[in-house]
């Protein structure tokens, strides 16, 4: 199982899903209408490291975080 966290204003509780790669996570998230609208906006981290491609293998217990547009300061 992989944990998916939705940070900041997405305002959605974490979910646990079965996925072997980040691409599979993307496929699953695209099926949820509420989540889908955020996907074009969000950066993605795996275990707190930002990633730039979907070609990332995931292991049991990995955490995937979605980071929507930021505005600190």
């Amino acid at each position: 199982m992989v944990k998916v966290e939705f940070l900041g204003p997405i305002g959605k509780k974490p979910i646990e899903i079965e996925a072997k790669t980040l691409k599979e996570v993307a496929e699953i998230l695209n099926k949820d209408e509420e989540t889908k609208k955020w996907l074009a906006e969000c950066a993605v981290a795996v275990n707190d490291k930002l990633v730039s491609s979907l070609d990332v293998e995931l292991r049991d217990g990995d955490r995937v975080s979605l980071l929507p547009p930021v505005c600190g300061g």
Binding site: G8, K23, A43, D48, C71, G73
Partner: protein, 155 residues
């Protein structure tokens, strides 16, 4: 790089206290130039204040990268940021650069603050009628955003 140089507080910053502590530290370390940036909540658009979420693990990484970058030029960066609510005319953000000489410090403060605005994992909300409203119009996609959007990506 010292992680103690990234300070996170609930609610508004005690700007004078943080400034004074940083100043003393810089004097002891023999830095000649000390620049600070303070971001204060402006009264505008009938907001009652701002509120912030931040994600500490990635913020820490982002900051560690900047510490390394600054240290290559003999400089040190420090930062303080709020989470939760910050009322009007109070401050949510302080950044500082210390360096032996001014030119490096003046350059780094600008680059640091601009990159902070673009990439630090912090989310801003207006407080209106007691409620948090995500400041989406002022927010910026983090570098590399959008990879999960496979439908749009494959169009």
């Amino acid at each position: 790089m010292s992680l103690e140089f990234l300070e996170i507080y609930e609610g508004p910053l005690d700007v004078d206290l943080i400034f004074s502590r940083w100043r003393k530290w810089g004097e002891d370390k023999n830095y000649g130039a000390f620049i600070t940036f303070v971001g204060t909540v402006r009264e505008e658009d009938s907001i009652e204040g701002l509120s912030f979420d931040l994600y500490e693990p990635i913020l820490t990484d982002w900051f560690a990268g900047w510490s390394q970058r600054a240290s290559k030029e003999g400089a040190v960066v420090r930062m303080a940021h709020s989470f939760g609510d910050v009322p009007l005319h109070r401050s949510s953000y302080m950044a500082a650069v210390f360096s032996p000489k001014r030119a490096v410090a003046l350059r780094i403060i600008e680059e640091f603050v601009e990159d902070f605005k673009a990439n630090a994992p912090i989310w801003k909300y207006d407080i209106k009628k007691g409620k948090r409203v995500y400041a989406s119009d002022r927010s910026h996609k983090i570098e590399g955003a959008g990879i999960l959007d496979i439908e749009r990506g494959s169009r």
